[in-house]
Symmetry: C2
């Protein structure tokens, strides 16, 4: 598949945008830079209807999906990129600045992965829980005196960067022989769930720690960059352990 | 002067924006990427007042200037860059795509030049006359199916590109020994005026050709990349010729 077609398949995810104009602005920027797949998480219903009537992006918005949770929006993706400030990530999470992002996505596409780029709501941005579903955090380098960007402009800047750098670089190199397809987000969530249940069944820690454990497991699984087969194998192990614990 | 301070001195010029939100959006993007000088040409007065009350860019908008004509907005600039589609330029005008712009501006700043980046009105963009005042045309590479960008997003994309590529590249190289300071736009307009008067005084061509001649002279003078001294010398020559023609 030519790189321009692969690029079009990158999922753009907007989490609960508050300003209805921003859904239209994001869709407009997507059309400008050749992106096609938009998912809006938990939109406010009147804004969602209003956005669908925006000028210049009709087809794209008609095909846009809605999802109730970020997990659902990125379920089929093998590499999830959250936008925000690097300060907010945890030390074990990987982060880059936008000008460094294109080669990373290129590698991911070359190994047959599916990529999502996730934008948080206007004021507060992505939450800590949203970030725990991301393999990578990306920051747009901005002036320290006015770091906070308008959502529609942030989307435009990110998509410009990706389309101009990826398409200028030419076709991606062939994947290495050992480049296994990564586990997608749905598979990682399944695995995280099994690990969590195992923790509970084994009385690993008190009940009030379960939210913190879930978070740590999610972050860990993304950092490990698990392949599809590895993830299946580990899931099998935990299910077996869980069965033994319960019987 | 450090590059970040030079960058801040690039003039951002909006020509007759129609949507009042776009003045605020441009100012917001300028603040995000460390730019400080905004001039709005022939704004619609109520929009101008409305924009001055936008959130997050107060100082910048309070210092924003208004000009009646593009010529006035760029008078002190030695290198004027118009944004638009490369198809619209004349063959003798220089044009580049946005990812190629940073090194060109870097050279200009290194030789002590002053740079303006000019954006046209939302629907029609810069006119042919506006372009005749530009040394260079720059195009944001967009998808052929939806090439027309939102103004606020176009400004954000251009300023992101310049700030991220210029600041990442480190300090500009020292100017070459023979790098003369360029003539600024006011000087070029003065020279164009003298040449035009000379044409008229010499009956160079019929009166109905004068608009076309003015355009050609403007384009020619920008393409020549005249130094300050050269421009003064040529102006002196034409004034002398003009005096002789008239006496």
């Amino acid at each position: 598949m030519p790189l321009s077609e692969q690029l079009a398949l990158i999922e753009i995810v907007l989490v609960s945008p508050r300003n209805p104009l921003n859904i239209g602005a994001a869709a407009r920027a997507m059309a400008n830079f050749g992106f096609e797949r938009l998912t809006v998480v938990a939109p406010y219903e009147p804004h969602w209807r209003e956005a669908k009537s925006a000028v210049g992006a009709e087809g794209l918005l008609q095909n846009a999906k809605r999802a109730e949770r970020v997990e659902d929006a990125v379920a089929a993706c093998t590499f999830v990129i959250g936008t925000g400030t690097l300060e907010r990530r945890r030390p074990e999470q990987r982060g880059v600045r936008l000008p460094e992002l294109a080669p990373i996505i290129e590698q991911e596409l070359a190994r047959g992965g599916r990529v999502a780029l996730v934008f948080g709501p206007e004021k507060r941005g992505l939450t800590r829980v949203d970030f725990s579903l991301c393999h990578l955090l990306v920051e747009i380098p901005t002036d320290a005196r006015q770091p906070s960007m308008n959502l529609g402009q942030a989307v435009a800047v990110c998509l410009y960067e990706l389309s101009s750098r990826l398409l200028a670089a030419g076709p991606a190199p062939l994947p290495e022989a050992d480049a296994e397809k990564r586990a997608d987000s749905a598979q990682l969530e399944l695995l995280a769930g099994a690990i969590e249940e195992t923790m509970a069944a084994a009385n690993y820690s008190p009940a009030e720690m379960s939210a913190a454990n879930r978070h740590d497991v999610r972050v860990l699984l993304r950092r490990l960059a698990l392949g599809e087969r590895d993830a299946r194998r580990i899931l099998g192990l935990f299910r077996r352990v869980l069965w033994r614990l319960r019987h």
